[in-house]
């Protein structure tokens, strides 16, 4: 594992010069300008930009190209600094392996699953200005029917078993998911529902990636029920943001409520 010094940090507190500042975080280009009593924010999404490119440059050209979500946020005193806080998604994420997985009975495996990040803009020790997804994740429904279930984000995942197989993207967070099959028969894993609103987000400088609390999914020997347990952040990671919802360490579900 190597120390990551390649990409500048897009998160944290930034001094915003008079002419503004532009953040490029993967395909998202974010423009910020300040006046004494307002913040001017806009963004555009450029699919031609790589997912792992990060740049922070002075200057913000609001006239250059069509912008989305242009807005003025009015405050008593704008100050000079803006803080960008990475956050996990505001709904659970259903991760669907690109190729379906099969876990034989009695097996246990660790997978790495990436989920999209959001950025919260706030003044240091001041009010929150706005929140924006760094990646527009498609929506999906997770439930037994269109009547019963939950609206989630959908994420295609390679479900890598080695960390090095995954690109180093700073617009996603990695979750180590441990799958344990206590039943005798094999289990097909087509999608996994990750309760990211209950996970902490951290940054692991040793691997240069955002990481979340580890999650353990355990299929019980009856084959019908499953346990979900939220573990801790990897030891090498530093916590950045707490969970959006109060975390429960473990809870039991019907199997179909966690994976399918």
């Amino acid at each position: 594992m190597t120390e990551s010094t390649e990409s500048p940090r897009w998160w944290g507190t930034h001094e915003v010069p008079e002419e503004g500042i532009t953040f490029q975080i993967g395909a998202l280009v974010l423009l910020v300008q300040r006046d004494p009593r307002e913040w001017h924010l806009a963004h555009r999404r450029d699919g031609t930009l790589g997912d792992h490119a990060v740049e922070v440059t002075p200057g913000a050209d609001f006239d250059a190209s069509p912008l989305a979500g242009e807005r003025r946020v009015l405050v008593r005193d704008a100050g000079r600094a803006l803080e960008l806080v990475p956050r996990l998604a505001d709904r659970a994420v259903v991760a669907r392996p690109v190729k379906p997985l099969r876990l034989p009975g009695g097996e246990r495996i660790d997978l790495f699953v990436g989920t999209p990040l959001f950025a919260l803009f706030r003044l240091p020790a001041g009010p929150e200005l706005d929140e924006l997804p760094l990646i527009v994740a498609p929506e999906t429904w997770f439930g037994p029917s269109p009547v019963r279930g939950e609206l989630c984000y959908s994420a295609r995942t390679r479900a890598a078993i080695e960390l090095d197989e995954l690109p180093r993207n700073l617009n996603r967070a990695l979750t180590r998911v441990t799958l344990i099959n206590h039943a005798k028969d094999a289990m097909n894993v087509e999608r996994i529902r990750l309760p990211v609103t209950r996970l902490r987000l951290g940054f692991d400088a040793s691997i240069g990636r955002f990481v979340t609390d580890d999650v353990e999914l355990e299929r019980e020997s009856d084959g019908e029920t499953a346990n979900l347990e939220i573990r801790t952040l990897p030891k090498t990671a530093r916590e950045l943001t707490p969970p959006r919802e109060p975390a429960r360490s473990a809870w039991k579900h019907a199997l179909s409520a966690l994976w399918a």
């Binding site: 259903v94 669907r96 527009v136 994740a137 498609p138 929506e139 999906t140 429904w141 997770f142 269109p146 009547v147 609206l151 959908s154």
Partner: protein, 267 residues
């Protein structure tokens, strides 16, 4: 006329002005308490229930207190309430015979409230009218249509008609019916439609989008393209999908039937 005035004067003298003032005071205080109780119930339990039940809660707090205050005020004026209630019973029967339609609406209203097929704030479609439910009252349901008209639909009509609640479930399916010429490559058409659905993040990954042939018509093939989205995004997503289908199919030069007219100009 003089006799009536004299009779009223005698009655006022017999009960005394102080009783009248006290009765009016009791009734006004009762009204105030009823409003306070209604608002209190609405506020305390309102956050946990839907707007329909919130309205019922407010009324459940308001009307009984008003009735009690009215009864107390009448008692203060010297009315014998047992006689009054007996008269009210006879009056109710008479009114019931005279207004069967209204009675039917009242009973239908109770069924509607009990059945809970829809509530205040839901969007419903009934007897060709689509709009948001503003109130479910004893005689009628009040609906605001999307062109901002106020429509009163009698409860009896609601009970007898098919009512479609467009707000009941969180998801809706958007069906687009598309026609293609026999020269179109249906496999490519299907791929394109699924690509369009995949590129729109508001279209749900699951339930999965569907493309299937509805019918082979004499001059075209009729396809159904169905995608799912959140209920509140129904119109937005439908419009986006229609525009995107039009754009992509023009780009790809997919054969779509166009009505042709032959003009035979005389020489």
């Amino acid at each position: 006329m003089d006799e009536i005035v004299a009779g009223l004067k005698t009655w006022f003298d017999s009960i005394g002005w102080s009783s009248i003032v006290r009765a009016a005071g009791i009734f006004l205080v009762g009204l105030l308490l009823a409003r306070l109780l209604g608002s209190f119930l609405g506020r305390v339990f309102g956050g946990r229930v839907d707007p329909q039940r919130r309205m019922l809660l407010r009324r459940a707090g308001f009307y009984p207190v008003v009735l009690l205050a009215g009864a107390a005020a009448l008692r203060e004026l010297g009315f014998d309430l047992s006689v009054f209630l007996g008269a009210a019973g006879i009056f109710t029967v008479a009114i019931g015979f005279a207004s069967q339609t209204s009675a039917s609406n009242v009973i239908s209203g109770l069924f509607l409230i009990g059945e809970r097929a829809f509530g205040v704030g839901d969007v419903i479609e009934v007897a060709g009218i689509t709009g948001e439910v503003l109130a479910i009252d004893l005689l009628s349901v009040k609906v605001r249509t999307f062109d901002n008209l106020y429509v009163r639909i009698p409860n009896e009509t609601m009970v007898k008609s098919n009512v479609t609640n467009l707000s009941k479930f969180p998801l809706r399916r958007i069906d687009l019916v598309l026609r293609f010429g026999y020269g179109a490559d249906l496999k490519r058409v299907r791929e394109l439609l699924l690509e369009i659905a995949d590129a729109e993040p508001r279209v749900l990954d699951e339930p999965v989008p569907l493309v299937f042939v509805q019918e082979f018509e004499p001059t075209s093939v009729r396809l159904q393209f169905s995608v799912w989205a959140r209920r509140e995004l129904f119109l937005d997503v439908r419009t986006t999908m229609q525009a995107e289908v039009h754009r992509r199919f023009d780009e790809e030069g997919i054969d779509r039937p166009v009505a042709r007219m032959m003009l035979d100009a005389p020489a």
